[in-house]
Every structure is written in structure tokens, then in C-alpha cells.
Symmetry: C2
Subunit: 584 residues, 2 copies
């Protein structure tokens, strides 16, 4: 019988001997590898935090003592210990348990968490509420070294230090962010590691925290000792633990970046890589490389997610000092890009739709208000089957309602490259481009649109009665609907590729009035505040009927795309049905 | 003849003797006092930075050496030295020069800046661009100690420390934010001041910066000496200068918070204060105080702008530990509120519309995704005659397109108090309330609406043909239009107070179809992504005509409201004209 078989709640950890805890650690690692190999997920950070999680549950009493996770990249061992091991050991239960902290699953989780750098703020609030209720519990924030560079984490530290009561911030220092750590903060963490926590120069004590260091962060006894020392402590305290990212799985220990996260099947023997397919990522990196080779002062920036945007190790090597990973720091990444652009360089910031929302004020104030000609590439934007913490559905309302910025939505490879090139060459506008998701579509024909004609939509096929405006990758859906309408209703619709998300082409919309009765808009994102509503507003006072299609304003959680499309009536059949009703 | 008369550009400073620079300092102070007394503006920070600005221009060569200001609260002496003194000495020229850094005014300004904590990011980008161009200039960020707590500043420091070239960050430490500094960071600044910069524990050296301290930050010679030492330095460097906020004007030296900013006429003799009028600020603070007295664990939070939201010294005293100034840290303020709410406290975060946009991701992820029942009070929201950096026009699209959160728009005192009370008592929704701007309107009748009926609009007057939906403080305009229409067209319109901004009342909108042809929406904010567009979308496929009124998506700069209203057709006459056209 395994030790893990007896672990159904944190209480069960408290009776274990050290030896049993060590065995349990290995069993938990096996469970983690098993799950990630089946459904994918975060591997390295979870493998590294196993002993610390056991020690936390051994020393503290969850859920009355509260452990707040940061970004949830290290919550698997916690889930396993707190009654959710089936989600790791039993494949049929895998989908029941998410990869992120979630109170709906367990009283041991306190927040739904998936974006970084939030745990200290959340924990500081919880600690303050506890004090007002005159309760005595431990509030523990568990944050990785990588997440510490995010502004909210620092704001949280700054405020947490002012508490006159218990808060324990455990810094899981595995010497890595998603990729390598970047920044001055990490010089201090390195010094602290090198001096076994004894260095005088210590950012945390400088801010007023009591500070403890555990060099052997995968040694259960040492961790228990440290946590016992700070349990019920009456003032803000840091426990800095030094762990091994990927511990126990050699490939992950050796290549920490690659194994930060893995797709299903990573344990199976690897098939020799095929010829690398063309993707929007390779199109982007090839373009950037060619500009560098031409001597353009192009700078590729990532806020700590180089992998997601195709900025791989080979690319970084070629770019040299013209590739900059600013660390988890989306706000800074935008301000930095603005500074670069204003001083003559050509910054390209690549960021996922879900994370660009961490820099709204910087896009507005640092960038657009200054008309800094930087380019933001927004990746993965669209209605999303992801976890509710990682939806990519909100970037159109977020960006397109900010003045000055030009937000472009290409529908294929040639448009994308033309927009990218225009954006890099011009010096007048702050721009963003919604990089298409999925396989590359090509017309095979160079796009020679003049994108300096801002907000000029393109009529791609002239028809009558019905006009269909397909935004970005939903342009393909527009074509399908056109065919469906032709077949069902024998009407030849007009097809429009708007290209611009930040304004409308009034001249074109005005012209449509002459021989159209219905305008349909399709956008791969939330409808509220998005593109289609602007078309509805324009035609509001007229006889034109407008139908807006897109996502509903909601946090969906791992819903398959075909279900969402059906729910949102985003199929050619359902939309044609709606049109028939209006024509009737 | 004054020294100032001879100062038309930074070059003219370079020829001055120390004695002349000291006289110039006093003349500049006089000019600052003169301007602020005429048009209002930032006083304390500008009075404190006079000598440092003279020293910067004496040592460095602007504009080839670039000085980047943070938040622009300390750019007046710079403006005076760089050819814009008339904006301070000559009343007729005051409006020509803004209170903020602005490249349109001078080649010595590099960005339009008005939100805090951005200078280090912008400067780091500029430095990187300079390196790529293989140029040799000094890039200087000038940031106040208060602005350092903002997350972007820390993200910027973290990245700036990695530069292998010149960047000079001047920290103007006047021991104050807008109000008092808050947070652990300030313990370290205090230690550095006390040890004349010699303490081993130093956040800046910990991050890898070279560090210099100037205790006499209002001593021109000492400043020149320090700046000369770091000029052309080849690596990231901090110059920490200790200045006196408000220097040279006794009341400002003594009451630093009050004189951070002043309205016109502050130099004139004060009239004895009248009975304090009821305002939405006093309604709020009185409500919070009453809840505290009832034993509700209410917590009033401000991100460093207590004055703007009426959290004055008296209020803070009464609230005691239930008032928390988190410092300039909007992101943290929202995460903190979420933590408080999840652990049973009742947080009320008061924040200006212009600044709430610094926490979009936190409202979405930390708060709304978690349904944390915190209350955000959004102040000053509306079409704005402010500087382009401080528009308050974008909060409706920003907040109302986030799922889960309930954004309420009261039209009068009774509604506001009922919404506030509902928000504090319920535990189901994250809420925000758009606090009305301007004088208090009262019906004299308690509002007993059940706000748990989410998205339920109220028909306040039943009419026909035309329905007017007036959002928040534009409900008054809706009433005026109703009267105008009655007089001009003899039509009795329907009047609707929507109360909710985060959804639509489909049942009500459906019913309007029965005997209405036109729906007019009025919102005090930008139209793009806002409330009215949702009504247009709803009626898009129908025969209903919809007219949306609100602001245009643009950065306007100190345009009087009546001009903006006219431009946006936001008058009863112009709107009635539009209606007549449609009815024709």
C-alpha cells in the first residue's frame, strides 16, 4: 500500500514520520508526472515544491490557516494532499480537477488564481480581515521567485510590511521564472542564496520583514523546522526557500524552461521532429530576424513568455541584445516599448491576449497618448476553451476603445506580414496586431494595402441585401456563411474584411445602405464593448438591420470550442437561420 | 533685472555663479507660486525640486541628454528653465503651458506624462534605443519617493538594473507621497537618509545599482557635485536626493499634504469656512463611519489619493485601523480588497476614474473572477475638461465589459446610498459604483429598490414613441430632453433610469418595442465600448431606432465642458433636432 493511499486530507500528513514523508514526496511526484502526461500542465514548479507543501501542511492547519498560491503553477502537491489526488492518479478524474487554485474544488483553496504576482496582495487583505475579526490564524502566501518581478507583488510586499500581525510569505526560489529570471531583484536573491541568507544587503529586511532562509528547500525536515519557527508569528515574515525546479525528473531538472509546462504525452518516446511547419510564430520571428539583418534597430520584447510567442532559444541567440525578456512585468514591457520607440528603435512586444490586460493603463498613457510607434503583437486572441483564468477573449474591447492606438486584425499570412511591416516602418501610430491563431492561411498573393489609410475596410466580394463583416480569423466563417446563404436563399452577399478594429469605415458603411438590408458582424472575442457593437451604433438611427456575433461576457472554464460556438450561435447554419427570420 | 529674465534655455543656466543660481531658485519659486495662485496646480513637489532642476540643467545637456519626469508633479522648474517661463510669470500665457510634461511644448520634454511610476520604464527604453544607435547621451529618470511604490516603477527598476550602459535614476525623496508615504520601501529610504546613504541594507545596491546620496537636496552645489560625478557613467546608477517638499513657502513646508496641490487663489486671505455642504464625498465618509460604529468590519482603502475621495484627516482618525492608504499601488489596492472581502471584511476602495484603469487585470482576475464582494467607488467619472493625462472618460467600457462585476450608476443621493448599502451588505457580487460628480441631487425619498435584481432598469415616467435612457448623472439631461420634446413635438417620452451599467434589461427593452420607435441613450463617458452600444446591439435586428450619445474616443486636453458637450451633441436642443430628423 502506498502512503498516498492514506492521504485524504492535510490531517493525514501530520501523523507521518520523516521517512514516510519522503516516500510520500516520491509518490506525489509520480502522480504529478502521471497527470501532466495525460492532460498536460505545469511540471517543473510542481515537482520542486513537493516537500515544501508537505511541510506546510504538517506545520500549519489548513483551512483555518490559509495558504494562498501565486499563479497556481505550484498547487498540484497541495491539491493531492487536500483530497484531490484522484485528479492526478485516476485518468477518468483528471478533468474534474483543474490545474489552478479553485475554491469550488476544496475549502483549502481560497481564490481562483491563474495570473501571476497576486498572492501577497490577496494574503495581505486576508490578514487584515482576520485582524479586524480578532482571529488568530496564519496567513501564508506562497510565491515563486519569477512572480516576484510583477508590479503587484512588489506593491503587495510594500503594504504587507506595514501589517502589525501575522503574515508569512514563502518565496519558492527555484532560480527560474517560466524562462530565466530577469532583473536586478534576482541579483539579491542570488546573493542571499550564496550567503545562506546571511547577507546584510537584503531587500526583504530592508522593507521591514523578518527573514528566514532555507537552503535545502527540498528537505522536509529543514522546511518543517523553519515553518515551525515562524508559525503564529506576530509580524510580517519571509521564508525564502531554495528549491530545485523539476526535482526528481531528470529532463526537467536539466532543461527547466522546456519542462516548466508540458503537453500531454511528453513521457512517451519522442518522434523525430518533422520539418518545421510555417506558423504565425515562425512568420513573426523570421520577419524580426530579417529586419535585424537589414540593420533595423528592431527589439523583440517578451514579458517572460518567450515560448508562447515563438521567441525560442535559437531566435534569442540570433537576436542577441535585440531580444529582451523583461521578466514578468507587463506594465513595464509597454512603458519600455514606448521609450524605445520614442528614441528611434523599433520595439515589437509579443504578449498573450490574457496578459495584455495587465497593462491597460500603460497602453493608454505610456504608449497611445504619446503616439509612440511601438508594435504590440497580441497572441492567442479569441473565444477560448482555456481555464477561466486564461481566457483570451477580452483584448478587442480592452485595446480598441483606447484613443490613438491602431488595432489591426489580419485574416491571413500576407495581410499579417503587410501589417507588421507597415507598423514597423511607420512612425505615426502606436499599433497592435491580433496575430491569427491556428494554422497559417495564405492567399499566395502579396498584400499591397496601404495601411496608413486608417480604418479603411475592404469589400472583398460585392453582393447585395446582406453584408457580412468577418473580423480577423472569423473572416473564414464569413465566407462560409456567404456560401450557406447563397445555397439556401440564392442571395449573393457582400463580404467585408475590416482589417481595423479601432474605428469604422463610415464611407463604406454609408454606401452599404444603398442596396443592403442586413449587416452581420463576426468577431472572435467577447461582444460587449467589441467591434460589432460599433457597427450597431453606427446603424442605430437607420433602417439597416445589424446582427452581432461573438462571445458572451462570461468566465467560461474549459468548455470545448464547438460547444461555445453553438451556444453563441457562431455557426453558418444558426446565423443563416437568424438571417432568414429577419428577411421573413 | 532678475536673473530669470536672462534664462531662456538651459544654456543660460550654465553661465551662472552659485550665488546667481541661488537667486534664480528664489525667483523660480516666486514664479511657481504666482502660477499656481492663478490657475492652480502642483505646489509642494515643484517648490522642493527647484535646486535639483537647476543643477540637472547645469550639469547635463538637455535635450541631447534626456530628462524623463515621473507623473510631472515636479516639472515646473524644468518648464521655466526650458523657455516656458512666461507660462508662470505672465498670466495671459498661463493657459498656453500645461501642468504636465509635453513634447508639443518643448524639445526638452520627451513624453506626455500624468500618471505615476512610469519614468523608469520609459527611460530604460530610451537608454536601450540609444545603445542600439551607438550614441552616447545621458538618460535621466526623475522620480519622487511616492511614485516608487507603484508596480511599474519597481518593474522598471528591476529591468533598468540589467542595462550595461548609462541610466541615471534621480530619486527625489521629500518624505512624502501625495499624502504620507506608506509601506516597507519607505523604511529603507528612511534608513538611507539617517545613515547619510551609508547603510549596508540598501534596496538599490541590492538590485545592482551604483548608489549616491545627497542629503542636502536643496543645496545647488552639492547637487552639481553629485550629478557631475555620475555624468556619462556607464552603468545603472541611482542618485537619491533628500529635498524639502514645499520649500520656501512656509505653509507648504508645514502642511505638506494640503499644499501638494492647490486651487487658484490660495495665496489670498482665507474666508472663514462656511458650514460644510453635503457632497457625495461627505455622504460616503458619513456612511462608512456609521458602519464602523455599528461594528461592521468596514475598511476604507485609498491608493494614495485620500483627499480626492474625501478621506480627510478627521475621517482617517475616526476610522483608525479601518482606514488603509496602500500608497500609489492601484493593482494591490484591488487584490487587497479582494482578500479582505473573501475573509469576511467589507472593503470600500475609493479611486478616481482616471486611475482605476491601472488595475484592469486585478478587477478581472483578483476580484470579479472570484466574486469577491468588495465595493469599488469610482469618483469623477465623466466627460472631462481635464488635462489629456487625467481624463475620467473611460471607466464604463473598462469596468462594464468585465464578467461578473456589477457596475452601478446612481442618479441621486438616495440611490447612491441605497446602492452603497446594498453593496456592503451582500456577499455575492463584486461591485463598483460610479459616484456622481458635482452637487448632490436629492429626491427626498428613500430608495427602496432591490438591487439584487441585477440589471433591472427603472421606467420612471411612462410615455410613448420615444424612450430616453439617462445613465447616472446624465439622467438629468434625459429629463430636460423629455421636456424639450414635449414642448417641441407634443410627444410624451418614456424616461428610464438604468441604474446598472454591466448588463441590459431585456424584458424592459422588449416591452418598449410595443409602442416606441426611438430609444435614446445618454452616458457621461466615451461611447466606444460603453453602455449605449449595448442597447444598439440589442435592437440591431429590429425596427427600433437607437441614438447613442456620449463622448468621442479621443484624448482631449483641457477643453471646456460646454465645448465638448456641443461637439458631442450632448444638449437637449441638438438631440431633439436629431430625433425630429428620424421622425420625419
Amino acid at each position: 500500500m502506498k502512503i498516498l493511499d492514506k492521504i485524504n486530507s492535510p490531517k493525514d500528513v501530520k501523523n507521518l514520520t520523516t521517512e514516510e514523508m519522503n516516500i510520500l514526496s516520491e509518490e506525489i511526484r509520480e502522480a504529478i508526472l502521471n497527470r501532466v502526461n495525460k492532460v498536460g500542465g505545469h511540471l517543473g514548479p510542481d515537482l520542486g515544491i513537493v516537500e515544501a507543501t508537505i511541510a506546510l501542511h504538517y506545520v500549519f492547519n489548513s483551512p483555518s490557516d490559509k495558504i494562498i498560491f501565486d499563479v497556481s503553477h505550484q498547487c498540484y502537491p497541495h491539491k493531492i494532499i487536500t483530497g484531490r489526488k484522484e485528479g492526478f492518479t485516476n485518468p477518468s478524474e483528471h478533468p474534474e480537477i483543474s490545474g489552478y487554485s479553485n475554491p469550488a474544488e476544496s475549502e483549502h483553496d481560497h481564490f481562483v488564481i491563474g495570473h501571476t504576482s497576486t498572492s501577497i496582495s490577496l494574503a495581505t487583505g486576508m490578514a487584515k480581515a482576520r485582524d479586524l475579526a480578532k482571529e488568530k490564524t496564519n496567513i501564508i502566501a506562497l510565491i515563486g521567485d519569477g512572480s516576484l518581478s510583477g508590479g503587484e507583488a512588489f506593491e503587495g510586499l510594500n503594504n504587507a510590511a506595514m501589517l502589525k500581525s501575522n503574515i508569512i510569505i514563502v518565496i519558492n526560489d527555484n532560480e527560474m521564472s517560466i524562462a530565466e529570471n530577469q532583473g536586478g531583484l534576482y541579483k539579491n536573491l542570488e546573493l542571499l542564496r550564496k550567503t545562506n541568507g546571511q547577507a546584510n544587503n537584503n531587500i526583504f529586511t530592508a522593507m521591514g520583514f523578518e527573514y528566514h532562509y532555507v537552503d535545502e528547500g527540498n528537505n522536509t525536515n529543514k522546511l518543517i523546522e523553519a515553518f515551525t519557527k515562524v508559525k503564529n508569528i506576530g509580524h510580517p515574515t519571509i521564508v525564502h526557500i531554495h528549491t530545485l525546479k523539476g526535482k526528481g525528473y531528470k529532463p526537467a531538472e536539466e532543461d527547466k524552461e522546456t519542462y516548466h509546462w508540458q503537453l500531454p504525452g511528453f513521457l512517451e518516446p519522442k518522434i523525430a521532429p518533422e520539418n518545421i511547419e510555417e506558423t504565425y510564430n515562425t512568420l513573426t520571428t523570421n520577419y524580426i530576424i530579417s529586419k535585424k539583418q537589414e540593420g533595423v534597430p528592431i527589439v523583440a520584447i517578451t514579458p517572460a513568455t518567450p515560448g508562447a510567442t515563438g521567441y525560442d532559444k535559437e531566435f534569442r541567440k540570433i537576436l542577441g541584445s535585440q531580444f529582451v525578456d523583461v521578466g514578468i512585468a507587463e506594465q513595464h514591457s509597454v512603458g519600455y516599448a514606448s521609450g524605445l520607440a520614442k528614441n528611434g528603435a523599433k520595439p515589437i512586444l509579443g504578449v498573450l491576449s490574457s496578459f495584455i490586460q495587465r497593462a491597460y493603463d500603460q497602453i493608454s498613457q505610456d504608449l497611445a497618448l504619446n503616439n509612440s510607434p511601438a508594435t504590440i503583437l497580441v497572441y492567442w486572441g479569441g473565444i477560448s476553451n482555456a481555464d477561466m483564468t486564461h481566457l483570451q477573449t477580452f483584448d478587442i474591447p480592452l485595446i480598441s476603445n483606447i484613443p490613438n492606438i491602431v488595432y489591426l486584425a489580419p485574416t491571413n499570412k500576407e495581410e499579417y506580414l503587410a501589417m507588421l511591416d507597415w507598423s514597423v516602418k511607420q512612425n505615426k501610430y502606436s499599433t497592435a496586431i491580433r496575430v491569427p491563431f491556428g494554422p497559417v492561411k495564405s492567399t499566395g498573393k502579396k498584400d499591397d494595402t496601404d495601411y496608413s489609410l486608417i480604418n479603411k475596410f475592404e469589400i472583398t466580394e460585392i453582393g447585395e441585401k446582406i453584408a457580412i463583416i468577418g473580423v480577423g480569423d472569423f473572416y473564414e466563417l464569413a465566407k462560409e456563411i456567404k456560401t450557406e446563404i447563397l445555397n439556401k436563399l440564392q442571395i449573393k452577399s457582400t463580404l467585408i474584411n475590416p482589417k481595423f478594429l479601432t474605428g469604422i469605415d463610415e464611407e463604406l458603411l454609408e454606401k452599404l445602405k444603398e442596396n443592403h438590408q442586413i449587416v452581420v458582424t463576426l468577431e472572435n472575442g467577447v461582444l460587449d464593448g467589441g467591434f460589432g457593437e460599433k457597427i450597431s451604433r453606427y446603424y442605430g438611427p437607420t433602417n439597416m438591420k445589424v446582427l452581432n456575433y461573438g462571445g458572451k461576457k462570461e468566465f467560461t472554464d474549459r468548455i470545448p470550442l464547438h460547444e461555445l460556438y453553438k451556444k453563441y450561435r457562431l455557426t453558418k447554419e444558426l446565423i443563416t437561420e437568424d438571417i432568414v427570420k429577419i428577411l421573413a
